[in-house]
């Protein structure tokens, strides 16, 4: 199956919720789009990138991270928005 070039933000948000415990290696309280990745959940820049790798595997997508900025790491919603708008074509 070829990686998809479009994905709904809501699908990414749902996957982030599923993957957070695996990336953080602990139970995570229910997260929504406004949950702050660093302040509320304790993710670092690096663990956020790890989350993106997990998203790539789960959703069969490739994400272009070259333009990612601190603001994109703010909340579950901003990260999902970034992912949904920065998909790379299949290699």
């Amino acid at each position: 199956m070829e990686p998809s070039l479009t994905i709904h933000k809501g699908t990414v948000v749902d996957s982030i919720r599923v993957l957070l415990p695996r990336v953080l290696r602990r139970d995570v309280p229910a997260a929504d789009e406004d949950t702050k990745l660093m302040e509320d959940l304790g993710l670092s820049s690096s663990t956020t990138l790890e989350l993106m790798l997990e998203l790539e595997e789960r959703l069969d997508i490739q994400i272009d991270v070259e333009d990612i900025d601190q603001d994109d790491f703010a909340t579950v919603g901003t990260l999902a928005e970034f992912v949904a708008s920065h998909l790379l074509p299949a290699e």
Partner: protein, 307 residues
């Protein structure tokens, strides 16, 4: 005005893919993938049978400008990321001086700016020589990956072995140091494994600030900076930094990240050497050398030079 008269470097021939380090560094397969995919780290150099003295001597052996001028060397400085780089009582800097006939020089280690200590050592050498009025300093950098802290920057980078040797004058035509800015950040002064997230949150803005501070001191617009010679922690950090300061990522020399990893305080000099070899610097070009030190001695530093 401090001048960088000559630079030489050495990288061991032994190449170790980061996958081979995963067990030793307790990296998960996902962390290894993250390093390779986003951080663009691929391999580091190691010299398992070589000592730190061997590394430093190999770099000095490539420093042709030193030949016949040993008597002019007043100071030998070893810039260290970690204060302790060999088991006591081994003293590679004193041993190097004995072997090279530099016993007359004042030899000492410079530490406590972590991976930004290479820039501090250049500044210290220039200041000492300016006081003396003449003479040369030999500034060394490079370390062995001999403790866990000296192998991995958690969530950020992998250290590799290598070394650099520079001749520094208090003044001269090349490469002239125009400005130096160093922001010591005591709030992050902790073991590398302390709290990476807190340091990472401030990393980009802090490194951006110090680069802009150095450029401001040198009265140089970033648009007139030909190159940035970075520290080699990883690629994604520089992509984000460039975005923040509006500098083209293509003018940051990141070629050594995948092939050498983070070579302690020698990164800037390895990158300088690569820039020279590739003809990327022309007379009159201004360039920035930038480094961030994490862990003990957390410091963000930048220098502006004119080639």
């Amino acid at each position: 005005m401090t001048a960088l008269e000559a630079v030489a470097t050495y990288l061991p021939s032994g190449r170790v893919p980061i996958e081979d380090l995963a067990g030793q560094l307790e990296l998960t397969p996902m962390q290894v993938k993250l390093f390779r995919r986003y951080h663009r780290l691929a391999e580091v150099r190691r010299e398992p049978d070589g000592t730190l003295l061997d590394l430093l001597l190999a770099a000095v052996a490539n420093l042709d400008g030193l030949r016949g001028r040993e008597h002019e060397i007043r100071y030998v400085l070893h810039a260290r990321t970690f204060p302790v780089v060999v088991p006591y009582p081994v003293n590679p800097v004193h041993a190097l001086c004995r072997i090279l006939g530099l016993d007359h020089a004042v030899a000492f280690a410079v530490t406590h700016h972590a991976c930004a200590t290479g820039l501090l050592a250049l500044d210290v050498a220039g200041r000492l020589l300016a006081h003396d009025g003449d003479g040369l300093a030999l500034v060394l950098a490079g370390e062995k990956t001999f403790t866990r802290d000296a192998q991995l920057v958690p969530e950020t980078s992998v250290f590799g072995e290598g070394a650099s040797a520079c001749l520094v004058r208090h003044a001269g035509p090349r490469d002239r140091l125009l400005a130096y800015a160093a922001h010591v950040r005591g709030e992050f002064d902790d073991e590398l494994s302390g709290d990476p997230a807190a340091y990472q949150r401030e990393y980009h803005s802090s490194l951006a600030d110090v680069i802009l501070a150095a450029a401001g001191k040198a009265r140089t617009d970033l648009g007139d900076v030909r190159l940035i010679l970075p520290h080699n922690v990883n690629v994604v950090a520089w992509q984000r930094l460039c975005r923040r300061i509006g500098y083209p990522i293509g003018q940051v020399l990141l070629d050594n990240v995948p092939v050498a990893g983070h070579v302690f305080c020698a990164d800037a000099f390895l990158n300088y050497q690569t820039a020279r070899e590739r003809g990327l610097l022309h007379p009159g070009d201004r360039y920035v050398v930038a480094a961030a030190g994490a862990g003990r001695g957390a410091t963000f530093s930048a220098m502006v030079f004119e080639h």
